[in-house]
């Protein structure tokens, strides 16, 4: 699945990002993501991981270099991209159902059609019971599910996820990781996933890009050749542990040098 198609879904070529005249946040970044590939970006804090996602989403513009999403500029490709933020980032005055429908509503889909789209999504992320609840009545894990469902509602081809599970306990995080893989298997989107957790990156990804800080640059890349579909049992396997150990070792190098 990882090899997908030869035309890259996301092409980041020689991208540099600098705020004002200060030091570069990102320097000469080259990352290419194939269609339906799952790529994780991992690195110590301050290496510009989240900045890369913002650049792909067109929420920020690079100082140098080019970014193409499906051959288009990020701004023009927005309709095909969904963004999942670090916090659930829900509208607290809207119910779960209306939060999930937000994107469709902003794109002016009529309410009847919206309801039809939201129903199966609620089912998909297991939120049927709480469709009419407000975000503050939900646990952190459930809020994150709402956020993911909202991102999926617009049928994205590219999902950008910025440390979406960082604030969750380990159990919820593991379960949501499994669910992310299940959802991707069904809907076949391309994913760029930013995380602090090596285990999470290994479990989810086809490929892991390790960034080094000051200035942010690509330090190493790993292809994750663990069998798919991946299940919870994988985490207990020696191959998984070995991969986590290798990536962790490289990650430590980026800080030491």
């Amino acid at each position: 699945m990882s090899a997908g198609s030869s035309v890259p879904e996301i092409e980041i070529a020689g991208v540099t990002k600098q705020y004002g005249s200060g030091r570069a946040v990102l320097q000469s970044i080259n990352i290419s993501v194939a269609k339906q590939e799952f790529v994780s970006i991992i690195g110590p804090s301050g290496c510009g991981k989240s900045t890369i996602l913002k650049l792909i989403a067109g929420l920020s513009t690079p100082t140098g270099g080019t970014i193409r999403v499906d051959g288009m500029t990020p701004f023009n490709a927005r309709e095909t991209i969904s963004f999942v933020f670090q916090d659930a980032t829900l509208l607290p005055w809207r119910t779960v159902k209306d939060n999930i429908g937000l994107g469709l509503e902003l794109e002016r889909m009529p309410i009847k059609q919206r309801e039809k789209e939201i129903g199966p999504l609620l089912e998909l992320v297991g939120l049927n019971q709480v469709a009419k609840s407000y975000p503050r009545e939900l646990s952190g894990g459930m809020r994150m599910r709402v956020s993911i469902a909202r991102a999926l509602a617009t049928n994205p081809r590219v999902m950008l996820l910025d440390e979406p599970f960082a604030a969750l306990d380990e159990m919820s995080r593991d379960r949501l990781n499994e669910e992310i893989l299940r959802l991707r298997a069904e809907q076949k989107w391309t994913a760029v996933f930013v995380t602090h957790s090596v285990a999470e990156a290994v479990f989810l990804s086809d490929r892991i890009v390790v960034l080094a800080p000051n200035p942010g640059r690509v330090y190493a890349e790993f292809r994750v050749d663990l069998p798919t579909p991946r299940t919870a049992a994988l985490r207990a396997s020696p191959e998984f542990d070995a991969m986590v150990a290798r990536v962790s070792h490289t990650l430590r190098e980026t800080v030491r040098q």
Partner: protein, 263 residues
């Protein structure tokens, strides 16, 4: 629940203590009734002049509610303009400060001169004095939206109008209520102060402020106390009405409005 009963009992005990102290002062110092009437005399004055008391109360209530309503409408409109850009805020904000610092007593005679005495003049005074907190709080609410939520809207190519009406405005509602809570108190104070200057176009008939002035000129101190009591009741009613509305509109989704408590 038990906690609440205890709080209520404590408040009642303070009330009783004040009444006892009041009565003691009268007995010990032999204060003449035109200086300080007894609590019982005040109760009697309430009973004897209830219709005129109620009339004064309703006039002041009308003026302060009118002033508050206009200041909510105008204040939200101005806040919407302020929220458009930092540049606009910098240019116009000093003038809202002016609104807050101008002594209402100083401009009341001016308003009296322009509009003549009566309910419209006092309503205008209540409006002016209660406008600033509405503007300040609503503006704050409109501009303090989580940056990621704005990004989310941008990702869906949301229009400026969608960002304003589906994101900024609902987000500002809790702050708007904070503003209304502050404004409701000063609208009542503004109305009563305004009435001291521009309260009535007919002798002997006007709101609480006007009646207080009139009662003091007639040395009807017991009635004056009754009027002050009525003013307090009015202020409290406004406060609790706003608290209730705040709870009603926000309790389902907003943390601060989950359980109304007296601060």
């Amino acid at each position: 629940m038990k906690q609440r009963a205890i709080t209520a009992l404590n408040a009642l005990a303070v009330f009783a203590a004040v009444i006892v102290l009041w009565q003691l002062i009268l007995l010990v110092f032999h204060v003449p009734p035109y200086m300080l009437p007894s609590p019982w005399a005040v109760v009697r004055a309430v009973g004897a002049r209830f219709p005129s008391l109620l009339n004064a109360l309703s006039i002041t209530a009308e003026e302060s509610a009118g002033g508050l309503a206009v200041s909510i409408a105008v204040g939200v409109l101005i806040a919407l303009i302020f929220a458009q850009s930092r540049w606009v805020r910098k240019m116009l904000y000093p003038y809202t400060l002016l609104l807050q610092t101008v002594p209402i007593i100083a401009i009341a005679p001016l308003i009296l001169m322009w509009m003549g005495a009566g309910i419209p003049a006092v309503t205008l005074i209540a409006f002016i004095i209660s406008l600033a907190p509405i503007i300040a709080n609503t503006t704050q609410g409109l501009i303090s939206v989580d940056e990621n939520l704005v990004h989310l809207f941008l990702m869906h190519n949301a229009t400026r109008g969608q960002v304003l009406f589906k994101l900024r405005l609902p987000h500002a509602v809790p702050s708007l209520f904070v503003g209304i809570r502050i404004a409701s108190g000063i609208a009542v104070i503004g109305a009563i102060t305004g009435e001291l200057y521009a309260g009535s176009s007919r002798v002997g008939e006007g709101g609480l402020g006007y009646s207080i002035l009139y009662a003091s000129s007639q040395l009807q101190t017991d009635y004056l106390f009754a009027l002050v009591l009525a003013a307090t009741v009015l202020g409290f009613s406004f406060f609790f009405l706003v608290m209730f509305l705040e709870w009603y509109f926000l309790h389902r989704w907003h943390e601060s409005a989950r359980a109304p408590e007296v601060e």
